[in-house]
């Protein structure tokens, strides 16, 4: 292999390492937008789920929202928010804000369906047991139903989050400097599309693996009976307290 032919093929992988900071910040931006949107979508999604399961007209409005917004692609959503909303409300959203809003609008609809099915999976008896004990329905929701429903929903939440991170890639159109925008910028300078976009693809794939692993660990940690390293760690103080109570009361 002569240096000549190597130059003509010209795969400059060193380029990636040299620009690792830019890729890193693109990744961080994508994760930040997704994470903020995840929290907001979960809150709105839960409210939509409750609305949908409740009385009319709330249930009809919630159903309408869900059916409309889960059909809109992220690309349309973000252009609509960044350019359209800005005109409408007379405020220029930053690319970060527009990305968060665009994802939240769409994913609230998905989370609503996820939470609704998780809440319906709980037996009616859970609610009744709480009420029969004299707990308020709000307290029953937060201490009895929400923890159980969240646990059921975690695998789906993980999948949604991976989807959200991938969807940030289209936010390059509004100029959000996420992974794709970073790649495009570098490509404009170096014209190394194969190297640069392979790198981008690898970043997304590795990220999906890591996130999947994290959500699996979370699922395991929250499962009952207590299971796994983190769960044991997190519940060790509780176990100590219980064992002490058993000891104290066992003697009498």
């Amino acid at each position: 292999m002569t240096p000549f032919s190597a130059r003509s093929v010209n795969y400059d992988w060193g380029l990636v390492w040299d620009n690792r900071d830019m890729f890193w910040w693109g990744l961080v931006t994508a994760l930040q937008v997704s994470a903020v949107a995840l929290v907001l979508s979960m809150v709105f999604g839960m409210l939509l789920a409750l609305g949908r399961m409740g009385r009319r007209p709330g249930s009809i409005l919630a159903a309408a929202y869900i059916n409309i917004f889960r059909g809109i692609p992220a690309l349309v959503s973000v252009i609509w928010v960044y350019f359209g909303w800005s005109l409408l409300v007379g405020y220029n959203f930053s690319t970060f804000q527009a990305g968060v809003i665009a994802l939240t609008l769409l994913y609230s609809a998905f989370f609503a369906e996820i939470f609704r099915s998780a809440l319906t999976a709980l037996s009616l008896g859970q609610n009744e047991a709480g009420l029969a004990l004299g707990m308020s329905s709000g307290r029953v929701f937060f201490s009895v139903k929400l923890p159980q429903a969240t646990k059921i929903a975690i695998p789906n939440i993980g999948n949604m989050f991976i989807g959200m991170v991938k969807d940030t890639s289209v936010f390059t159109v509004i100029g959000l400097v996420e992974i794709v925008r970073v790649t495009q910028n570098l490509n404009a300078t170096y014209f190394q599309p194969f190297v640069l976009f392979t790198t981008a693809a690898i970043i997304y794939v590795v990220l999906a693996f890591v996130l999947d692993f994290m959500f699996r660990t979370l699922e395991k940690t929250l499962s009952t009976p207590t299971n796994g390293f983190f769960a044991t760690l997190l519940t060790s103080r509780r176990s100590t307290r219980i064992n002490k109570l058993i000891e104290v009361h066992g003697d009498s």
């Binding site: 047991a129 709480g130 029969a132 004990l133 307290r139 201490s143 009952t224 176990s239 066992g250």
Partner: protein, 279 residues
């Protein structure tokens, strides 16, 4: 005596004290706790209770029995308003919680939440909270309803578990316990809130036969201590033993009632037919 249940009856024990306040004493005998008057319940267009009258006095043990679908659970659930009657009066300690008696002009009205805080209920399917340990199944309502601190709630929960012989299981989750143990936790959970009346809806029907005994013995102990109880059960042996007031119902109506010895003396042909089929 190593039997933890025996401790309940000892007046020096904490739970003994709390329950003893509900015990039958001469001065309180006959005081009306729960009163249902002409209670009707309709699901859709289907009326399943056709005007039920039932009085439960302090310390009394009422046993409801009858064929499946006759409305036993619906009556029980009307008492703590898990089911709101379509019409009729549901009174607890003289306070009206139901739709009310149209002939009665002015009554004190109460909120369902307050009613439920004085009435405990045990379900056929236990309904423990699966994400919480046994001790926290009991501590959660203590914190939420009695506004106890975590420490006090866990302390009291441990005592309640000890009283049903399950202290060692404090840190276990419902899925790790047998049905009989779960039901005993459920009973301990209801009792820890110091209810004035306990409702039992077929508490042993979901249990394997060999586990029925341990739950019945907790209930028997409770009855001996003078707890006011309304029990739906197919365990006629138990009913015969504790039932002060036996109510046989069919198709949403009370067919026949009687006191002790009811199972020998019942005269209505429907009651006798049912007895024959169960015994």
């Amino acid at each position: 005596m190593v039997c933890a249940l025996c401790k309940i009856s000892a007046p020096t024990e904490q739970i003994g004290v709390s329950v003893a306040t509900n015990a039958v004493t001469d001065s309180t005998l006959g005081e009306v706790k729960v009163e249902l008057r002409d209670v009707r319940k309709t699901f859709g267009t289907n009326e399943v209770l056709h005007g039920i009258n039932l009085t439960v006095s302090k310390g009394e043990h009422v046993v409801l029995f009858g064929p499946s679908g006759s409305g036993k659970s619906t009556i029980l659930r009307s008492i703590n308003l898990l089911e709101v009657p379509t019409s009729g009066s549901v009174k607890f300690n003289g306070v009206e919680y139901g739709p009310g008696d149209p002939t009665e002009e002015s009554v004190i009205r109460g909120r369902p939440l307050e009613l439920r805080r004085s009435i405990g209920m045990v379900f056929q399917q236990f309904n423990l909270f699966p994400h919480l340990t046994a001790i926290h199944n009991i501590a959660l309502p203590l914190r939420s309803v009695k506004k106890m601190s975590r420490r006090d709630a866990e302390e009291k929960a441990a005592q309640s578990l000890r009283d049903v012989g399950l202290l060692q299981w404090s840190g276990s989750f419902p899925a790790q316990m047998s049905g009989g143990q779960q039901q005993r936790v459920a009973i301990a959970r209801a009792l820890s809130l110091d209810p004035e009346v306990m409702l039992f809806d077929e508490p042993t029907s979901a249990l394997d036969p060999e586990l029925v005994g341990e739950v019945l013995s907790v209930m028997r102990r409770l009855a001996t201590m003078g707890m006011t109880m309304v029990v739906v059960t197919h365990e006629l042996g138990f009913a015969r033993e504790v039932g002060d007031h036996n109510v046989f119902m069919e198709e949403g109506r009370i067919v026949e009632t009687g006191g002790r010895g009811f199972f020998e003396s019942c005269s209505h042909p429907r009651t006798q037919a049912f007895m024959g089929s169960v015994l």
